[in-house]
Symmetry: C3
Subunit: 189 residues, 3 copies
């Protein structure tokens, strides 16, 4: 009898626990601790083509509104400019450090009354440090720090999801900027 | 002996339940109920630059095929036109309502024989209502209603995934359209 | 007493198992088997507009750097060219096979010293075979085979995530290429 009672109690506990487990799986609450399963910090360096720096440029304007062109960023906070880039990724903030990967994709400026951007790009790694890619997308309000989404990954970063906190680490006119990218993955396989 | 038997039975139950739990986690079946963990409806309003509405325009053509230009949408169902936008988001279908956020990103027309589009954009919120972003991507067949993917989010929408059902709520020539966006998140943290 | 002991043991087991379950859910380890929940192979065919093939072309250059145009792919490995496409998807590698869907979106070339690309596109299906969309994004190093991310889906592919292995199956000058796309989904609902 005692054993039967124990069984009942435990089966009930099991069901409760299981339903609890299932619930957290579907609908993760904000109260749950948000600990990244992987964290990394990188820098990347963007040198925009301006008609005179063909050799060093790592990016180029490829789209512009009717009032713009592809050599000089447009007025109205560059609204409508689309830039394609292939930028070196470094472990520190030195442009001359040995790159550990490439940041590849595009950004576009999308606001007339002040600077904001939208980004679609990947970090591509092919070294002993990392092999694979991390893909990012999202609005960039160009605040001091801001978050965009990590939407996927391959290789070492297979099925990655998370966020990346961007910080503009340096700007030199319209030609050079450097971003610090603090990647926090919350889904790692 | 009874206790030992109970133990065995329960350990077996545990393993079965656990494997079941694990299976649903990895491979969610279609039979499972698909209840969104969060639902929201918004509208956004797109006013395309046409050479005469510089002040009110919220979007601009920034890419066009060889046979097009950046002031007038191209023939062949606008195939190849790329549009960058920064559109106000409202809670109802009134363009003049106070915006609760901005829809920012791009769309492109990608079919010659009828209208279809591809979208990459974010809803960006920075108010007491919502703070953070939701990022969308996908093909838009421009049917009466159609679904695109929610691929990520930040802030209040940290790690969001789901779908958004788009409905074109109004069109005025090539200058204005309004979309209703019914967001259904199926992963909430 | 025996029953109490059993209860204690089992509650402990439960907690351990549950925490184990929770851990695998949040942080999937590399040791875990990576079995796709769905696998599919498709081909798609891209015919680039070159000024002379308006009727057959399925894609067009819509963005170019200052040194390029929209009829001929730019020098320096096409760096900066943005191409919008609406390509037929077939089940085999024959361009003339009946399409089962359309590959729609864009690719851009993003490296000056050799070929690399970045892709944002969807497979769009609307037949008895499949109904819905799969959306892809990521860097394409244009190696023999390479992986990009599946970042979302709708309809039959609701909430899909995974990777797609791309293989360039044929190239004819700058006008035609055919990609084999081996889709492996690791999250299916």
């Amino acid at each position: 009898m005692g054993a039967t009672r124990v069984t009942e109690t435990l089966v009930l506990s099991l069901l409760l626990l299981l339903s609890g487990s299932s619930a957290t799986q579907r609908k993760k609450t904000r109260a749950a601790p948000r600990m990244p399963c992987k964290q990394m910090v990188f820098y990347f360096h963007d040198i925009l083509y301006n008609g005179e720096n063909a050799k060093n440029a790592t990016s180029a304007i490829v789209g512009a509104p009717a009032w713009g062109n592809r050599t000089i960023l447009a007025g109205q906070n560059h609204f409508g400019n689309v830039v394609v880039f292939d930028d070196p990724i470094t472990l520190d903030n030195n442009l001359l450090s040995i790159p550990v990967g490439r940041a590849q994709g595009f950004y576009l400026y999308d606001r007339k009354d002040y600077f904001t951007a939208w980004l679609g790009f990947s970090f591509f790694f092919n070294s002993t440090l990392h092999r694979g890619s991390i893909t990012f997308a999202g609005a960039d309000p160009l605040n001091k720090t801001r978050d965009i989404s990590v939407i996927g990954g391959t290789g070492d970063f297979f099925m990655a999801r998370g966020i990346a906190t961007l910080m503009t680490d340096a700007v030199e006119g319209d030609v050079y900027f450097r971003l610090q990218v603090y990647i926090k993955l919350f889904e790692c396989w």
